[in-house]
Symmetry: C2
Subunit: 325 residues, 2 copies
């Protein structure tokens, strides 16, 4: 390990905010440095509780997260917030906004806030998010809140990283039915109807209850509660925190199972990545790849057969027959 990366690792384990920020930047870049950081800090991970907060833009997720941070701090729990945002090339607005918003906690060493943005494909963000959670976990935060922007499939993917997921909505805007359509109902362990002082809050609660009523739950199964909040005023936030703790107590058996599944996914991703790199270094000479690709573009060769050629070139012909399919 380079001395620089060792310093970062030591800093993360000591809970130094600058080292944590640097470590997250390194895992975002997904290179050798990411591997070194995770190798260095992983043995101290596995203790934090990961709470996902998702919902459409504008429903007040940020205010709710801010209140949850305050509530956790009142109980002397340390909190990290990881705000996962897509990037626009037109502005760094979303990222900047999250930082500005959390400045209320500046100076409190028990709170750490970080935004992560999509630069390339979604898979990269999901991988980097997983590693960033390991960094924050190893840094000793009791609670890590993963806030996502929007309610798309990306958010569903990222919510799989959490131990519990809160889906936030608000009265009106057809959010009840639209949330169903966007496929987020299935990931909710708790629904929060924020801006509950707006007209139609009761109807939104009723709509969600109706949709949940369509699903069948076994006797031992957690049925997602529906809570109302006015996050800007702190109303209802204590009940949200109590429900988070209740779910955590209820769910202790599943907690380990989910963590194992997350780690399995991560190991498989890394295996796949290493193998691809092996092929690129040993079997996939750039000009040869371009030549194969030319034939695919000309529709002389289909992508599946092209991949078989490449794999068999990299592993030797004995690998080809048994691997394809």
């Amino acid at each position: 390990m380079t001395r620089d990366h060792q310093t970062v690792v030591d800093g993360v384990l000591a809970g130094d905010p600058r080292a944590i920020a640097r470590a997250i930047s390194l895992v975002e870049a997904e290179g050798e440095a990411a591997a070194e950081v995770i190798k260095g800090v992983f043995h101290r991970s596995g203790r934090a509780y990961l709470l996902g907060v998702t919902g459409s833009p504008g429903v007040g997720k940020s205010s709710l997260v801010d209140q949850l941070v305050r509530a956790a701090r009142r109980e002397e729990r340390t909190v990290a917030v990881l705000a996962v945002d897509p990037t626009s090339p037109f502005s760094g607005g979303a990222v900047l906004g999250d930082r500005v918003r959390m400045q209320a906690h500046t100076g409190d060493a028990g709170v750490f806030v970080r935004s992560m943005a999509t630069r390339g494909e979604l898979g990269g963000l999901a991988r980097a998010t997983g590693d960033a959670l390991v960094v924050l976990d190893a840094a000793g935060f009791d609670l890590i809140i993963i806030e996502t922007v929007g309610v798309g499939q990306a958010e569903v993917e990222i919510s799989r990283r959490a131990d519990m997921t809160i889906v936030v909505t608000m009265p009106g805007a057809g959010d009840g039915v639209q949330a169903l359509k966007a496929g987020v109902m299935e990931i909710a362990d708790l629904f929060v109807v924020n801006k509950a002082d707006h007209d139609g809050a009761d109807r939104t609660v009723a709509e969600i209850a109706t949709m949940l009523g369509l699903a069948s739950y076994g006797p031992q199964v957690w049925r997602p509660p529906i809570l109302s909040t006015v996050a800007t005023e702190g109303t209802g936030v204590a009940e949200v925190m109590r429900t988070v703790d209740a779910f955590r107590a209820h769910d202790s058996a599943d907690f380990g199972r989910r963590r194992r599944l997350r780690l399995e996914t991560r190991v498989r991703q890394l295996v796949s990545q290493h193998l691809l790199r092996h092929v690129e270094q040993h079997g996939l000479e750039p000009r040869a790849f371009a030549g194969i690709l030319d034939r695919v573009v000309a529709t002389d060769l289909d992508p599946y057969t092209a991949a078989e050629h490449i794999v068999s070139g990299a592993l030797g012909p004995q690998a080809q027959r048994s691997d394809i399919g």
Copy 2:
């Protein structure tokens, strides 16, 4: 190839709707059958124009797509619609809705409609969407409309499969700014403000124009137009079609580049998949993998080192040093 799959391939190449539907189900399952179907039909692909239509739920994408189908049919172009939806375990509502909606075109052999839903992780949907587009392309459709639900990162990912992307929005609901936040501005080749008879349509157009104004475009660069429609009445749809054709003409140089990039991504995915399968068959005995995973769960071993062990076991120790990083 099995006789059944050969029949499917022949049917797709003959443009038979039932064979096309079956072929898409096969590629959704991502197994040996998917490989056989794509191998059989790929040589006839590469002719269709792929038009992505995305935007928040409720803005009227479905109505607009329906009108675009009608407009294309008036010009005697054949059209396939691939509606890509996340699934909810609570109902098949979204998928069903899309099917019901397009029944207007039942009996017109020049129109094919299909919904695809997320079953597992997003990557699977993206891969299957790519293969489904190859099937529809090989079946001879002139225009393929890829309609996505929502404006998340998933949609950005899927829009990369399209030759052109229309971002649909509507007056109010803060959609202008929220669309920016969700990172969809960068993927738009054309903005459509639908429900333009609603209050605030002019403001929405102005907001988008302002945001576009912040970006700089070179003299030869396509600046996304902003059009207004009332899709339920067909108002403005002809202009949308004209703009699609104008973009296509403008973009002919980039068309080939984008297609090459898509195919390159697909080949790399398949190579990676084959290699992972190789490891699972030759180097990753299930009990050994479970043992390694146990150590990761116990934080005795980090995921990166675990992946290195697995890869070196599968490829032999000489592969280890050079691949890792």
